[in-house]
Symmetry: C2
Subunit: 232 residues, 2 copies
């Protein structure tokens, strides 16, 4: 069930925020307990309300964390790439999953059983510390997102999203800041709390103003300053 090379698992854990500080020896025992799981494109990893058995560490792929409304709406809370982890909240308080998660691209994760993780927290001070810091970080991110929903109009939120995506994963191709979105406009819309159509219009409006250029599923940021200004 877990044919991932142990060396690779250890290296992976080491690159995460949560386990970064641990000695290799400890990581090896953790890696031994971990189970690898794979998910196809679009496959659901867990759903809001499920009992939480594990913390998941991303090995490869893209995952969206989201909540759904009674009427089928979807709000994306975060989209994660390696190295990253998901399922922290349930581990923190022992409750059921607070949101759903699905693979946007084929992805593989390492699942750490709740019990081994709790044991680790007990024995390794640095894991508990990292956990506290990580949750502080999550809290900050979320309050920012909430504030944006109230204070910014949809165009502002789209601009902000593009800017932060460009920061994280933008690439300069002969002088031009290039961003492969990696998600559909539907996902984009769910990230900013808008409708797909409106987001589409806004994308083209930004392009019409010369702030960005659109192509395939990638965005060229022409006027980075203007984009950032529009996000304020």
């Amino acid at each position: 069930m877990s044919p991932i090379p142990q060396e690779r698992a250890v290296a992976l854990l080491q690159s995460t925020e949560l386990f970064g500080g641990l000695h290799e020896e400890v990581l090896r025992t953790v890696a031994t307990d971990a189970i690898e799981r794979r998910f196809g494109k679009g496959e659901v990893i867990f759903q809001e309300g499920d009992p939480a058995e594990a913390l998941l560490v991303l090995v490869e792929g893209i995952v969206k964390v989201y909540v759904v409304s009674a009427r089928g709406g979807e709000m994306v809370l975060a989209t994660l790439r390696p190295p990253g982890s998901l399922g922290e909240v349930s581990l923190l308080d022992g409750g059921p999953r607070s949101a759903s998660a699905a693979a946007i691209e084929p992805t593989t994760v390492l699942a750490l059983a709740r019990s081994t993780f709790l044991g680790l927290i007990d024995r390794e001070r640095s894991v508990a510390d990292a956990m506290l810091r990580a949750s502080g970080h999550l809290l900050r991110r979320l309050t920012g997102q909430t504030a944006d929903l109230v204070f910014l109009d949809l165009e502002g939120r789209v601009a902000k999203l593009l800017a932060s995506m460009a920061d994280e994963r933008g690439v300069r191709v002969d002088g031009e800041l290039t961003l492969d979105l990696g998600v559909t406009q539907n996902d984009l819309a769910a990230m900013v709390g808008g409708s797909r159509q409106s987001v589409n219009q806004i994308l083209h409006a930004l392009a019409a103003k010369g702030i960005i250029r659109l192509e395939h599923r990638t965005v060229f940021v022409v006027e980075e300053d203007a984009l950032r200004r529009r996000a304020t």
Copy 2:
């Protein structure tokens, strides 16, 4: 600077989520290090971006935690009453204050210096656990609030707010569920991410439907079920 009776301070700490499990002996040393501070109505306790020196435990009064926009808008993230604490996020990750806080009513707090709190976390496993659980709880509350902003219309959010306030602090007065708001419509509006005027209209619309009755600054919940249904 700290003329609060030690016995009272200990009792207070014991009633909080964070320190509830501690031995009286430990609490006494904590109480010794705590400093009492008072704030008048409307006074700002700390502001977003301030360096964080302390965790605050509410002794008396009402506090709102909020963020402000560049254009002066205000979004209330939480309104707290004793027993409760504020300033957790900065303590978790050592960063600056992630939001502002102000007294809605005259309030007094116990300030625990960051250093003593961190020491406590180190020595007392139960505090670290409580901290992790508390942050999980905060995270859940915030993701719920974010989802509501996206999924519910303003009337839904107002209904939900009233319902949860009634749960927490509603009183039955000869059969009728009575809720003293304790905040202005302005604050109400900032809690649901709407304008004061719209919230006012919605309050009266709910009253017109016979779901609630308005008086002074208090709300009588006539049709609790209808209120809850409207909040879905």
